[in-house]
Amino acid sequence: MPDKKILLETKDLKKYFHTPIGDLHAVDSVSIKIPKGETLGVVGESGCGKSTLGHSILRLSEPNSGQVLFDGRDILKCNKHEMRKLRTEMQIIFQDPYASLNPRLTVSETIAQPMLVNKVCRKDELGNRVSELMDTVGLASRLYNAYPHELDGGRRQRIGIARALALNPRFIVCDEPVSALDVSIQAQILNLLMDLQEERSLTYMFITHNLSVVKHISNEIMVMYLGQCIEMTDSRELFKNPLHPYTQALLDSIPVPRLQSRDKKRKIIKGEIVSPIDPVPGCRFAPRCPKAIPKCTERDIPLRNVSENHQVACVLFEK
C-alpha cells in the first residue's frame, strides 16, 4: 500500500515485564502499519499480549524498546508535555464498561472530564458539547445526570465511546469494546463504531478475541500468539486463505450458527498456551502445532512475505 498515508506505525516494539522468575515477553518485536481511516484488527487468545500492545502504543505502559510513529513522529521520544498534547489525538475505549467508569461521576461529568483536563472547551460551551457527544453516540439526553450504576452495559460502553471522542482524536485503540455485551447490543455498538469511522475518518486499532467481529470491522488483521505477530494480511484473505497452523486452528474453532457445519470434522489443537516467561527460541506455537518439525525450534522464525500483502511466520513457508 504505497499510496496510502500511514497514520500509525510501530517498529520492533517490545514490552517485557520483569518478574521474579524471569522476563515476561508480553509484546515481542511487533511491527505494524495502520493507514489513515482504516482499521487494523488484532486477534489472539487471552495472554497473547494484544491489550499490552494497545497500551504500549499509547504509552500507558512504557515499551522497553522499538519505535511508535504517529503521523511520522516518534512518540517514544516525546517529553511529558508533548505527550499530553499528543494524547488528545490518540484515545482508547476500554474493555470493561463496568470497571472503566468512575462510579462517582455522572454521565455528563465523565464525558466532560477530558475536555476540562485539556482545557479545549470554554466552560459555557461545555454543556452543549457534552449534549452533542451524547447525541452522537446515541445516549438519551435524560441520562445527562445519571450515574453509571443506573445504566446497563451497552449504555455504559456508549459513555466510554463518547469520552474517547470528546477531544476529536484521529486514532482510537478499541480494546475489546464489545466482548462484555449481549449479541444484540454488541451489533448496535459495532454499527456505531463503523458509522463514526466513516463520518470522522477515524483510524482504529481493534483488539478482540472474537473472530467474526474482527472480520466484520477490519481492513487488515494481525494474529498474535504469545507476544508475537504470526500472520498479517487483509481481512478477506485471512479468512479465505489462512496459512499459519495456529490461524487455521483458530478459524476452525469458531462455532458457526449453521447446521451444515455440524458434521464437519474440526482440527482441534491440543494443549494450552505455554508460559511467556523467558520463552525458548523458535516458534512459540510449536509445542501445540500439529505440523511441527524439528526445524521449528532451532531458531526464531521471522515474519515473511508470501505474497504482496500476506505475511506469515512459519517454517513451512520459508524457501
Binding site: E45, S46, D152, G153, G154, D182, V183, S184, I185, Q186, A187, Q188, L190, N191, M194, H209, L211, S212, V213, K215, H216, R236, F239, A249, L250, D252, S253, I254, P255, V256, P257, R258, L259, S261, R262, R266, I268, I269, K270, E272
Partner: protein, 330 residues
C-alpha cells in the same frame, strides 16, 4: 403411550418464578413449559436477564429461599414433582441424578481443597463406596475429562481456566447424572479451549448418555451440539423446536431473526449488521401483550395488548401474532 412416558424424563409445566424485593416483584420466569427426552440435548438461548439461569436454579431447587417465590407450575423429573419434594429427598437427587456446571470456572471451585477431594465429595455423599473405590473412581473420572490423574492432589489455583472447567465438569459427571445443566460452560474460555471442551462434552454424552440442558447465548454452539432449541425472552419461551426448525425454517420469531442478524457472518460479506433496537424490558414492569413488541420491527396493533398464543407446526412452536394472520398453522 407408556413408552412415551418413559422417554420423557423431564417435563416442566407452566412454571413461573418471581423474586421479591422490598419495593417490587421481578418476574424472572413466566409460564414456561418444556420437556426433555432421555439422551437429548436442548439449547436454552437468550440474552442477559432472559431468565435462563433462574430456570436452571429452579430445577436444582437452589433459588434463594428468602427472596424467591414459585407462584405456579410443576417440574416432573422421572414422574416425580421436584417442587413438592422435601429438602431431604431433593438432596438425594441433586448431584446424583441432576447436576449442574456453573458459568465461571474461576469462582466455582473451593480454593482450599484439592481437586481430587472436591470430586470425591459428590461420590462420598451419593455412591456409598469404600475409600479405595472412591479413589479409583476419582482417577477414572479425571481421565475421562482429559486430566492426568496424578494432578488430583493439586489445588485449583494450579490449573488454567480450561483445566478448571474440566474439573467442574468432572465433579458434575462423577455420579453419572441423568440430567446435566450446563450454564454457559465455555463463555469464560478462549475459542481453542472452548472447542476442546465442546468436543469433550459431545464424547461424554455418547459414553454415558446424559441429557443436557445447555444454557448459552451463542447460536454457533447450539448449532453444533444441540438437538432442540428453546429461545427465551423476558422469562418466556418465545420459540421452540428442533435445530432444523430454528436454523432452517422460513418462519422465525422476529426476536430470533434479530439474534441471527446481530452475529457478523463469517461467510457472507456485509457492511452493516441488523441489530435489534432498544434494550431488554424491565422485569419489574413487563410490557402488555407480547413482551417483545416495543423492540419488534414487525409490531402490529394486536401485539401491544394481546399476549400471543403458541402457534405450533409439527415440532416447531412460535409465540407471535404474525403467524396467526399470515398463514394460520394448524
Amino acid at each position: 403411550m407408556d413408552l412415551n412416558m418413559e422417554e420423557q424424563m423431564l417435563k416442566i409445566k407452566d412454571l413461573s418464578v418471581e423474586y421479591t424485593t422490598d419495593e417490587e416483584v421481578v418476574k424472572a420466569v413466566n409460564h414456561v413449559s418444556l420437556s426433555l427426552n432421555k439422551g437429548e440435548t436442548i439449547g436454552l438461548v437468550g440474552e442477559t436477564g432472559a431468565g435462563k439461569t433462574t430456570l436452571a436454579l429452579t430445577l436444582m431447587r437452589l433459588l434463594p429461599k428468602v427472596s424467591s417465590r414459585i407462584p405456579q407450575g410443576a417440574i416432573f423429573f422421572d414422574g416425580v414433582d421436584l417442587l413438592k419434594l422435601p429438602e431431604s429427598e431433593m438432596r438425594k437427587i441433586r448431584g446424583e441424578k441432576i447436576s449442574m456446571i456453573f458459568q465461571d470456572p474461576m469462582t466455582s471451585l473451593n480454593p482450599v481443597l484439592t481437586v481430587g477431594d472436591q470430586i470425591g465429595e459428590a461420590l462420598e455423599l451419593h455412591m456409598g463406596l469404600t475409600a479405595e473405590e472412591n479413589e479409583k473412581r476419582i482417577d477414572e473420572i479425571l481421565r475421562l475429562v482429559g486430566i492426568d490423574e496424578g494432578r488430583k492432589k493439586d489445588y485449583p489455583h494450579q490449573f488454567s481456566g480450561g483445566m478448571k472447567q474440566r474439573v467442574i465438569i468432572a465433579i458434575a459427571l462423577a455420579c453419572e447424572p441423568e440430567l446435566l445443566l450446563a450454564d454457559e460452560p465455555t463463555t469464560a474460555l478462549d475459542v481453542t479451549i472452548q472447542a476442546q471442551i465442546l468436543n469433550m462434552m459431545q464424547d461424554l454424552k455418547r459414553k454415558i448418555s446424559t441429557s443436557i440442558i445447555l444454557i448459552t447465548h451463542d447460536l454457533g454452539i447450539v448449532a453444533e451440539i444441540c438437538d432442540k432449541v428453546a429461545i427465551m425472552y423476558a422469562g418466556e419461551i418465545i420459540e421452540y423446536g428442533t435445530v432444523k426448525d430454528i436454523y432452517e425454517s422460513r418462519d422465525r420469531h422476529p426476536y430470533t431473526e434479530g439474534l441471527f442478524g446481530s452475529i457478523p457472518d463469517l461467510e457472507v460479506e456485509s457492511r452493516r449488521l441488523r441489530p435489534i433496537d432498544g434494550l431488554m424490558p424491565d422485569p419489574t414492569n413487563l410490557p402488555q401483550g407480547c413482551k417483545f413488541h416495543p423492540r419488534c420491527p414487525r409490531c402490529m396493533e394486536a401485539c401491544k395488548t394481546v399476549q400471543p398464543p403458541e402457534y405450533v407446526d409439527g415440532t416447531h412452536m412460535i409465540r407471535c401474532h404474525l403467524f396467526h394472520q399470515e398463514q394460520p398453522l394448524v
